[in-house]
C-alpha cells in the first residue's frame, strides 16, 4: 500500500492521541464516559480553533506570536460588548479581522518578518484587552454559554465541535481552490505569483481567515469560562504552535494538516490531564509537562521511522 504524504501526516498525530487516550483511560476508567470525555476535551475546543488560526498563518510561511494576546482580546470583547450590545461586538470583531488582513498585507508588501510584526501586535492586543477589562469580569452571552455547554445525545459537545472544526477546515484548506492557493503561497510563492495570482490578496485572505478562527476561539473560550480577563489565553501562542507541529504541520513550505492540527490540540489538552492523573510531586509537576511534550513528540519520531520503513518496502 502506498500512503500519500498527507495521510502519513495524519496517522502519526492520530496514533499519539490514541496512545495517550488509552493511558488516561487505563489510569482513570471514569474518564471513559460521556461526562468524562466532555471534561477531558471541552477546553480543547478553543485551543483547536486557535491552532487552526495559527496553522493558516503557518501555511503561508509566517508565524503569529500574537495569537494568545489576540484570543484574549477577543474573549474580552465577547464577554463585554458581544454580551451587552451584540451589534457593536460583531463590528469590533469584523474590525479585528480586517486588522489581521491588514497585517498580512503589510508583511507582504514591506517584506517584513511576520514574527516581529506579530510580536508588536501582541502588545497592542494585550493593551486593548487591558483597557477593555482592567480587572477580570464580563459575562458570556447566553447563546455562547448554551452552545458550549449543550449536551447532544451520544457524543459530548467537545467531540462534536472538534469533528466539525476538523471537517470544515479540512474542506477549506485541503480541498477548496482557496486552500490550494494559500498552501501554494507557502510552497512556492513565486510560482503562484507568476501564474497571475495576487499573492498579497491571498496572504491577506489567509490572515483574515486566521483572524476569524481566532475570534471564534475567543468566543468559545468565554463560553466555557463564563467570563474573561485580559491574560486569559496568553498561553495559546505557544500551544497553538505546538498543536500545529504535533499535528504534522511544518514551519515552512505550506505543509499543514487541519485535521492533524485539531488532533494536536486535543493531544496537548489530554497531555495535561494525563499528568494530573499521575500524582507527581509539586516540584516536578512543571517539569513533567515538558517531559510529556517530549514523549509525545518522540512518539512522532518513532512512528515516522516505522512509516518510513513501510514506505521503503
Amino acid at each position: 500500500m502506498r500512503l500519500s504524504s498527507s495521510a502519513v501526516r495524519l496517522i502519526i498525530p492520530a496514533a499519539s492521541l490514541a496512545v495517550l487516550l488509552a493511558a488516561v483511560f487505563y489510569m482513570q476508567p471514569r474518564a471513559m464516559s460521556y461526562t468524562g470525555l466532555n471534561l477531558l476535551f471541552n477546553l480543547a475546543v478553543p485551543i483547536a480553533l486557535a491552532t487552526i488560526a495559527q496553522m493558516l498563518i503557518m501555511s503561508v510561511n509566517d508565524l503569529d506570536l500574537s495569537m494568545g494576546a489576540f484570543v484574549s482580546f477577543c474573549a474580552c470583547v465577547a464577554a463585554t460588548f458581544l454580551q451587552t450590545s451584540p451589534a457593536i461586538g460583531v463590528l469590533i470583531f469584523l474590525g479585528a479581522i480586517a486588522v489581521y488582513a491588514g497585517i498580512g498585507v503589510v508583511i507582504h508588501l514591506r517584506q517584513l518578518p511576520s514574527i516581529v510584526v506579530t510580536l508588536g501586535m501582541s502588545f497592542v492586543w494585550g493593551g486593548l484587552a487591558v483597557l477593555l477589562l482592567p480587572s477580570p469580569g464580563g459575562a458570556a452571552p447566553g447563546w455562547v454559554r448554551w452552545l458550549m455547554t449543550v449536551k447532544p445525545p451520544l457524543v459530548p459537545m467537545a467531540i462534536v465541535a472538534s469533528v466539525i472544526i476538523a471537517a470544515v477546515t479540512h474542506y477549506v484548506v485541503m480541498r477548496s481552490s482557496f486552500g490550494v492557493l494559500i498552501r501554494g503561497v507557502g510552497g512556492n510563492n513565486r510560482s503562484v505569483e507568476r501564474a497571475g495570482w495576487s499573492v498579497v490578496g491571498i496572504r491577506a485572505a489567509a490572515y483574515a481567515l486566521a483572524g476569524l478562527f481566532a475570534v471564534l476561539a475567543g468566543i468559545a473560550l468565554v463560553g466555557l469560562t463564563t467570563a474573561a480577563d485580559a491574560n486569559i489565553a496568553l498561553r495559546y501562542t505557544l500551544l497553538s504552535i505546538a498543536g500545529v507541529i504535533l499535528g504534522g504541520g511544518e514551519f515552512v513550505g505550506g505543509r499543514v494538516s487541519p485535521i492533524g492540527a485539531v488532533i494536536g490540540a486535543l493531544t496537548l489538552t489530554l497531555a495535561g490531564s494525563f499528568l494530573s492523573f499521575m500524582r507527581i510531586s509539586p516540584d516536578w509537576q512543571i517539569g513533567a509537562q515538558g517531559a510529556i511534550l517530549i514523549v509525545v513528540l518522540a512518539l512522532r519520531l518513532f512512528l515516522n521511522r516505522v512509516e518510513k520503513r513501510e514506505k521503503n518496502r
Binding site: V130, L224, A228, S276
Partner: protein
C-alpha cells in the same frame, strides 16, 4: 467524619517565593492531617504557567479523579467559573482563597485587598502629615488583585489629598521587573517621599533608589525576608521606619481546614475574611526571626484557628 474524604489543591503558579511558601505550608499541615487520619488525601496540583485556561482544565481533571473537595488559588476570579460550576454540579466542595473565584457555589476565603492598599496610605498619612509625592508599583495588569490594591491606594490618596501619585509602574510582582521599571522612571521623577507597593517588589525599589543615588523614601514592604532584612539593616543604621503588609502564604492551610469542616458537615458561610499579615516597626525583629532565610513571613493555621475564623463569620 472526613477520614475517607480526599481534598485537592489546585494551584495556578509556583514561580515565586510566596507560592513556594504556600505549598510548603500546605505540605506540612496536610501531611499531619493525613497521617492522623483526618482526611484520606490532600494532594497539591500546580499548573506550569499562570494561565486560567490551564487551571480550568486541571480542575476538570480533579473532578474526574473523584476528589470530594477542591481548594483553589485561582488564576482569575471569573475565568474558572465554568469549571468551578461543573465541580459544584458534581457535588464537590470548592473553596477558593487568595485568588478567589466569583462563582456563587464556591466558598471564598478573601483578603480585603482594597483595605490592604488603603492601609498603606493611612500609615503614610500618620507618619508624614505633610504628604508628598508617591511612587506606586503595581502588579500585573489585568489581574484582579492588582486592580483591587490599586483601588485601595487610590481611595487612600483621595482621602488624604496631601499625597500625590507622581509615577506608577507595573512591577508584575517580580522584583527584577520592579527594579527595572523603577530604574527607568526614577530619573524623571521629582523627590519621592514614599513608595507604595503590592508585595514582593520593595527590595527591588530600594535597590533602584540606591543605584540612582537618590534618598531612600519610605518604602512599604511586602513581608519578604530580604525586604525585612534590608529594613532591619536600615533601621539599625539610621532608624529607618516603614511598614510591611501582605497576605500570609499559610492561608492555604486555612482553606484546607475550611474545606475539611465543610466536608464534615459544618455550616460555614460562603464568604470568609482573613486579616492580612502586617509587620510594623516594633514587631519587625520578632517576625524576622520566624521567617525562613529567603522566604516570606508566614502564619500557618491549625484546626482550632480555622474554627475560630469560621465562627467569627457566623
Amino acid at each position: 467524619e472526613t477520614a475517607d474524604k480526599k481534598i485537592a489543591l489546585s494551584n495556578n503558579y509556583a514561580g515565586n517565593s510566596w507560592r513556594q511558601a504556600m505549598l510548603t505550608s500546605w505540605d506540612k499541615i496536610t501531611k499531619d492531617a493525613v497521617s492522623q487520619g483526618i482526611v484520606a488525601a490532600a494532594d497539591p496540583f500546580t499548573t506550569a504557567e499562570n494561565q486560567a485556561t490551564e487551571q480550568a482544565a486541571q480542575i476538570q481533571n480533579l473532578i474526574l479523579q473523584g476528589y470530594d473537595a477542591i481548594v483553589i488559588n485561582a488564576a482569575s476570579p471569573t475565568a474558572l467559573n465554568g469549571a468551578v460550576k461543573e465541580a459544584c454540579d458534581a457535588g464537590i466542595v470548592v473553596v477558593s482563597f487568595d485568588g478567589i473565584v466569583t462563582e456563587p457555589c464556591a466558598w471564598r476565603i478573601a483578603v480585603d485587598f482594597k483595605a490592604m492598599g488603603e492601609s498603606q496610605i493611612e500609615y503614610l498619612a500618620e507618619k508624614m502629615p505633610d504628604g508628598g509625592n508617591l511612587l506606586e508599583i503595581r502588579g500585573l495588569a489585568g489581574v484582579s488583585v492588582d486592580d483591587e490594591i490599586h483601588a485601595g491606594i487610590q481611595a487612600g490618596v483621595e482621602k488624604h489629598p496631601q499625597f500625590k501619585i507622581a509615577g506608577s509602574v507595573n512591577g508584575d510582582w517580580a522584583q527584577d521587573v520592579a527594579q527595572r521599571a523603577v530604574a527607568g522612571i526614577l530619573p524623571s521623577l521629582p523627590e519621592i517621599k514614599a513608595v507604595v507597593t503590592q508585595g514582593g517588589d520593595g527590595y527591588g525599589a530600594a535597590q533602584a533608589f540606591a543605584a540612582a543615588d537618590r534618598p531612600i523614601p519610605t518604602i512599604v514592604m511586602g513581608n519578604r525576608e530580604d525586604e525585612l532584612r534590608w529594613w532591619k539593616e536600615q533601621k539599625d543604621a539610621n532608624g529607618y521606619e516603614t511598614m510591611s503588609v501582605s497576605i500570609a502564604p499559610g492561608v492555604s492551610t486555612l482553606a484546607f481546614w475550611v474545606a475539611q469542616q465543610i466536608l464534615d458537615g459544618q455550616d460555614v458561610k460562603k464568604e470568609l475574611v482573613v486579616p492580612f499579615l502586617r509587620i510594623d516597626q516594633d514587631n519587625l525583629e520578632a517576625n524576622l526571626e520566624t521567617t525562613e532565610a529567603g522566604g516570606v513571613a508566614n502564619v500557618e493555621y491549625s484546626l482550632e484557628d480555622a474554627q475560630k475564623v469560621i465562627d467569627a463569620a457566623m
